[in-house]
Each structure stands twice: as structure tokens, then as C-alpha cells.
Symmetry: C2
């Protein structure tokens, strides 16, 4: 499965500026200017980051008048979260089985 949307989601989250944007949006919607205000870069640069976030599906936005308001898209976050969670659980299940094996082996040769 050539999962393009996970590519984009994880790559988007790999940049500290974009994570800061997601962090800010997690506590409520915000306009482009509001998002840009605390960031140490030009407005066009922030726009580019927002574009990446939108293409990844992590963020959505609507323009009303001259103001664009952005919000989290929880489904995409959930997808990324799930991928990591599934792999970690699979690995940990393996470890559990190994522990169980070692324990039973120890019982047999006390």
C-alpha cells in the first residue's frame, strides 16, 4: 500500500514550525495572521507551511471576506496516531510473548 497521505502527514509534522501551528490550532481555530504573529518568519513563509498542512489533511481552512480561518482536521491526526500505535503495539506484543517464553523457560530449569 503506497500510503501517500501518511507520507504527507508525517512529513508535515516533522517541521517544528508546522508542529507549532498544529499546537496552536489544537486549542482553537485561528486566522493566518494570528498563526503567523508568534513565528519568526515572513507571512508568505507561513502560508507555505499552511499549504503543506492542508495538503496533508491535518488542517483545513475557509476564507470569509479577507480573513482565512484555519482549524485542525482530527481525522488525519487520528490516522497518523493509529499507524504509530499499531506498530508499537505489535512490537510490544512480541516482547510480551518473549517475556512469557523466558519466564516459562526459567520455571523449567530453576
Amino acid at each position: 500500500m503506497m500510503n501517500h497521505s501518511l507520507d504527507r502527514a508525517f512529513t508535515a509534522l516533522g517541521d517544528p514550525t508546522r508542529r507549532a501551528i498544529v499546537e496552536r490550532l489544537a486549542s482553537g481555530s485561528a486566522t493566518v495572521s494570528e498563526l503567523a504573529a508568534p513565528l519568526p518568519m515572513s507571512l508568505p513563509a507561513v502560508m507555505l507551511h499552511l499549504k503543506v498542512l492542508e495538503e496533508s489533511g491535518l488542517v483545513a481552512s475557509e476564507k470569509k471576506g479577507r480573513v482565512r480561518t484555519c482549524r485542525i482536521e482530527p481525522a488525519a491526526l487520528s490516522l497518523a496516531e493509529q499507524w504509530v500505535s499499531d506498530r508499537r503495539r505489535l512490537w510490544e506484543a512480541r516482547l510480551d510473548r518473549l517475556d512469557a517464553f523466558l519466564d516459562s523457560a526459567a520455571e523449567e530449569t530453576p
Copy 2:
């Protein structure tokens, strides 16, 4: 907090080859050659991906004789998972509060 380790973890997971490696390792440790076998690229290329994964903390490895064996490092996976989870929950809690507000508002003007 300038979270460098999350940068590396998410960026690492943003590449499909590296996700394929993590996927493979989730179901058990493997040598470099075993990891490289199904991948459509040269061995040195795979080594570079492994280097990125190790620097991100997602994967660890040990060399015994001439064979390097790689394994998942669940703590780093957990960290990434947690970051996404926390933001999603924060956002969803907001949505819940909004629903509650709309419900109570509807009760007051029936």
C-alpha cells in the same frame, strides 16, 4: 521547548521506505540485508535510511561479527504517538464543549 527529537521522529516516519522498515521491524528484529532485500534500492541507500531511523531514536541496532541486527525502540514511537494523541484530544475536547454549549443554549430557547 525546541523538541528536536520529535522533529527527527516525524521526519523519519514521513518517508515511505523508512515506514516500510519500521513496519518490517514491528514484527521482529532483522539484519540490514534482510531489511534491504525487499526494497527497490541499493544497500548503501538502505543504510542511510537506517541511520536516519537510528538518529531519530525509533530504531536501535547492534553489530555482532559482521551482522548488524536492528530492532524497534518503542519509547520513541510512543513519544510521537503521544504528541499526536494529546493535540487531537485537546481539539476534540473543545468540540465536545462546543456541543455542550449548543445543547444548553437550545434548552434555554425551546
